[in-house]
């Protein structure tokens, strides 16, 4: 039986002291390069503006650990890549911990305190775990190489929609070189590690304390046997070993030195980005401090340190680009490329010792590295990018901040400018008289309460499209009838209601948003009610998530939740069932923004509809193209619209009868797209409310009784 103390790995055996010193010198140099790089990165972040995300650090840390531990965000919509990454990640973590324990004993505990633990059973388990870790690492890297080389994934192409071939930053070959350099150096470290291990086993095959326990490092042992089979002798191995050892050692040290300077830094930046993730990113946009002179981001130093950190976290995985509705229809926007442009810009300007002049920090423009205004205006703020990003990059808040600057400079579509002026003047985007806001209610057989004068249980915030658009008015009336039939005590703000401001804010007209929000909050605060309901997901989002920042905290529900409850409680009774084959389109602002995925589906089930999901549903729902104020900006003639793209997706559902929406803007966008994409007659677009309305029959006496009750 070998003495357990002898069962360990030899370190520096047969090395000359000078050689060891040389190795340590390289080691310190690598650490110095690492520290210097880290310092310049931190200096870069500190050149950004302050951000208040420092609260609840422990909570944030724990959330980050959970996300990374489960690889939850990485396996989404790309299981194989996520799992391969898990192999690389956990392999690397274990190998790193392994190497660290050697340093802990050899360089710290043993020389200082004479403590040794790296032998015997501990060592054997150590070598088994590390062998498996290394094997996993290599497998993961092999898959990634295969994926990059042969799978031809569009999301991995660096060619840009917002640049022309021939432009210096069109397809960025340096990214491709970096990707391959990373993969090759990483896999070589892994492979040479095993070869080195095998060489050591062959070299020391005469030593029982090594050879007898070789199966605890199975990969190394298999390789050693192969080497012996092809004729490698212990002497040959001894001669081979120093060269291999230096190759492996120097490659590893170079790798460490390069971490803060290359894409490898995502090890740290992605983790930090996840840690500083804002759960309300894009749902609640940042306020502009009153004393700040200009709104939004004009220069790279206008970004916060958190924004700059997010830029560095991006691993170019392209999932955001794949999810982006603007990108899908060929608009000059890839959320990834906005982030990467800004990252390059930050690296070129903020990594210098001295900050360049203000003029060189302008991120808007047509030069290399600058972001085009067409790019920024292409965004629908649908949050598909933010939602899918595995490392919590928050694209939309940055895009909106940049738009705020464009708005201040007047760099926008004339039609959008007109609409903003109209909203300022009349309080709605239709340019209608305030007096006409509740005109849709005129033909109802009952009167709706004025919440400004009568206390109500539920205050109904109607929103612009539901109030003024003739097609949507039908839905609005149907919802009023539903509420009335269910005996809900509800009322309106009438001309006291203004555009809720959700889209105005996402356009970037922050001043106008503040005006609208504070006006509405003023109107609401003068009313006596318990909660708010709306049929408009856009209004719903801003009232729910953003009004609190302006002093208006209300309980607000989307109608689907309210109606579902009324049906469950039996206050609304369905007189018949529908046997339609339907599909449901999640509105961005209800679904992705506020996780209201289930209520509309539950209602469809109660109605008896057969729901067939489209490929992109729930959190991956595909924006109709109207968000972020794009409903006020005409799409260029001849281009496919996101709504048409969506119609095609629905069109392949066999026997589809109804394309169900639950958002006024969706109704407008998709009814239009149905006609223009040639599916008219094949299926119809309906508001969920209309389907519910179909199942109701309002007996005359109910209507009359209500009218009587009203007049009492």
């Amino acid at each position: 039986m070998t003495n357990p103390i002898e069962i360990t790995r030899i370190l520096f055996e047969d090395f000359q002291p000078q050689t060891i010193h040389l190795f340590y010198a390289f080691g310190y140099a690598a650490i110095a390069a690492f520290i210097y790089g880290t310092y310049t990165q931190i200096r870069k972040y500190r050149r950004g503006k302050a951000d208040g995300s420092w609260g609840e650090l422990l909570c944030r840390f724990w959330d980050m650990v959970k996300t990374m531990g489960t690889h939850r965000t990485l396996v989404r919509r790309d299981k194989k890549a996520g799992r391969a990454h898990a192999l690389i990640f956990f392999g690397f973590v274990l190998l790193f911990i392994g190497t660290s324990t050697i340093t802990l004993e050899y360089d710290i505990l043993a020389p200082l305190f004479g403590v040794k633990f790296w032998y015997g059973n501990f060592y054997l388990w150590f070598s088994l775990v590390l062998d498996i870790a290394g094997f996993g690492l290599i497998l993961g890297l092999l898959y990634m190489m295969y994926r990059r080389k042969w799978m031809k994934l569009p999301k991995l192409s660096y060619a840009r929609l917002d640049r022309q071939p021939g432009d210096p930053d069109f397809d960025r070959p340096q990214y491709r070189r970096e990707d391959w350099a990373f993969l090759w150096s990483f896999i070589l470290i892994g492979i040479t590690g095993f070869v080195l291990e095998a060489t050591r086993l062959v070299w020391l095959s005469g030593r029982p304390s090594v050879w007898d326990y070789r199966m605890w490092s199975p990969i190394g042992a298999a390789l050693a046997h192969t080497m012996q089979a092809v004729g490698l002798t212990p002497e040959g191995a001894a001669a081979l070993r120093p060269n291999l050892w230096w190759f492996h050692g120097l490659l590893s040290l170079t790798f460490i030195a390069f971490i803060p300077h290359t894409k490898i830094k995502h090890i740290f930046t992605a983790a930090a980005s996840l840690m500083f993730k804002d759960p309300l990113a894009g749902r609640r946009l940042p306020r502009v401090p009153d004393d700040q002179k200009s709104a939004g981001y004009k220069t790279i130093t206008d970004l916060t340190w958190k924004n700059l950190l997010h830029l560095d976290a991006c691993t170019k995985c392209g999932r955001c680009q794949e999810a982006c509705p603007a990108n899908a229809v060929g608009a000059p926007l890839s959320p990834r490329d906005v982030i990467l442009s800004l990252r390059e810009f930050a690296n070129n300007t903020l990594n210098k010792k001295e900050l360049p002049k203000e003029a060189e920090l302008d991120i808007h423009g047509k030069d290399v590295g600058q972001v085009f205004m067409e790019t920024l205006w292409s965004c629908r703020t649908c949050l598909a990018c933010v939602e899918i990003c595995p490392v919590a990059v928050e694209h939309v808040p940055i895009i909106v901040q940049m738009r705020r600057n464009l708005v201040e400079q007047g760099e926008m579509e004339p039609l959008l400018e007109k609409t903003l002026q109209t909203i300022h003047k009349s309080g709605n985007s239709f340019g209608e008289s305030k007096r006409k806001r509740a005109a849709w209610a005129k033909d109802l057989s009952f009167e709706i309460k004025d919440a400004r004068t009568d206390p109500v249980d539920i205050l109904w915030f109607v929103g612009d499209y539901a109030s003024f658009d003739p097609r949507n008015q039908k839905v609005t009336r149907a919802f009023a009838k539903l509420m009335n039939a269910a005996g809900v005590d509800f009322g309106l703000l009438f001309e006291g209601e203004m555009n809720a401001g959700n889209d105005v804010r996402r356009v970037g007209e922050e001043g106008l948003y503040e005006f609208l929000a504070t006006s509405n909050i003023q109107s609401l605060s003068d009313c006596d009610f318990n909660s708010i309901v709306t049929t408009d997901p856009h209004s719903y989002n801003t009232i729910r998530n953003e009004y609190p920042d302006f002093g208006g905290s209300y309980e607000i529900q989307h109608y689907s939740t309210v109606v579902k409850k009324l049906l469950e409680e039996g206050k609304l009774k369905l007189k018949k069932k529908l046997d339609y084959r339907v599909t449901f389109h999640d509105p961005c602002h209800l679904g992705r923004f506020n996780k209201g995925y289930d209520a509309p589906r539950d209602i469809l089930k109660m109605l008896g509809c057969e729901l067939v999901e489209m490929g992109r549903n729930r959190d991956n729902s595909f924006c109709c193209g109207a968000g972020g104020g794009r409903i006020w900006i005409p799409d260029p003639v001849g281009t496919v619209k996101p709504s048409q793209n969506r119609m095609k997706e629905a069109g392949v559902i066999e026997g589809l009868q109804v394309f169900v929406v639950s958002c006024p803007k969706d109704l407008t966008m998709f009814e239009d797209a149905l006609k223009t994409s040639g599916y008219e007659g094949q299926f119809v677009v309906r508001e969920l409310i209309e389907l519910i309305d179909e199942c109701m029959d309002y007996p005359e006496e109910v209507v009359e009784k209500e009218v009587v009750a009203e007049s009492e």
Binding site: V288, V407, E408, E417, S426, E432, S433, K436, G511, L512
Partner: protein, 265 residues
């Protein structure tokens, strides 16, 4: 170097408006106020000259005659970059005609002594198209109306302008400066005044001047001194439009019938 821009806050009609009981004007409740569209262009022209010569110090002063509510429009001008704003008012001014307003503006110009004076061609609500020119007349300055293009370097004693004439003809004119120019729509692209800008402009003071400040008396202004007065304001009766329905042949037959009717055949 100073450019003075005379502006007006105009009224737009709300839908379903009503005429006042005395039938002299629209009921104030149905009016929405905003800066006159032409003034957006004349202010932009002043701002363009200012911004194209960053080395010359150029002050852009906006002036308006009107009650308190006009401050909102002046703030919009300040938000767009005007350096100062002056509002002239006295209750006696109520009911003044365009010529009297022109006289008041002329008095302001005399006091401010600018190197260039702009006004809009006309206002969108009353469409007199005479205030700017009346002002020029009182000042005795060279003037040009309906200016669609302007070449002027700050401090120069002349400017080259293009005036819009009937039938799409342009007339190029050289004019001695200081001059009064009334600016036509489309001469430039007016900038957007963001609401934050307007809010921030609230910090800039608006100088409130009375008749005394411009050396005028109440007898020179107001309804009594006006050279014309409104007798009645009304909505003319609608014309007889009708939709012709039926097949193409029926529609054609009906049109022929109508033509014959008009010809008196």
């Amino acid at each position: 170097m100073k450019i003075l821009v005379a502006v007006k806050q105009v009224a737009a009609l709300d839908e379903d408006f009503e005429i006042r009981a005395d039938e002299k004007d629209v009921d104030e409740d149905f009016l929405l106020y905003d800066l006159n569209e032409w003034d957006d262009f004349s202010l932009e022209e002043a701002m363009r000259i200012k911004e194209e010569s960053p080395d010359t110090e150029i002050e852009v002063v906006v002036v308006s005659v009107g009650p308190d509510r006009v401050d909102e429009s002046l703030r919009k001008c300040l938000a767009k970059g005007a350096d100062r704003a002056i509002r002239v008012w006295d209750d006696a001014v109520e009911g003044s005609d365009a010529v009297a307003i022109g006289k008041m503006l002329a008095a302001v110009v005399k006091k401010e002594a600018p190197d260039m004076v702009f006004a809009g061609v006309q206002s969108s609500d009353h469409s007199h198209a005479s205030t700017g020119i009346a002002m020029a007349a009182y000042l005795g300055l060279p003037h040009a109306a309906v200016v669609a293009d302007l070449k002027y370097s700050p401090g120069s004693n002349k400017a080259t302008i293009r005036r819009e004439l009937e039938g799409g003809i342009l007339q190029e004119v050289e004019i001695a400066c200081p001059a009064v120019l009334t600016i036509q729509l489309g001469i430039n692209k007016p900038r957007y005044a963001s609401l934050r800008g307007i809010k921030q402009a609230a910090a800039k003071p608006i100088e409130a001047w009375g008749l005394g400040d411009i050396g005028m008396s109440a007898s020179e202004v107001g309804e009594a001194s006006a050279m014309s007065r409104v007798r009645r304001m009304y909505v003319p009766e609608k014309g007889r439009a009708q939709m012709i329905e039926g097949t193409i042949a029926q529609q054609a037959a009906r049109i022929i019938e109508i033509i014959k009717e008009f010809k008196g055949a």
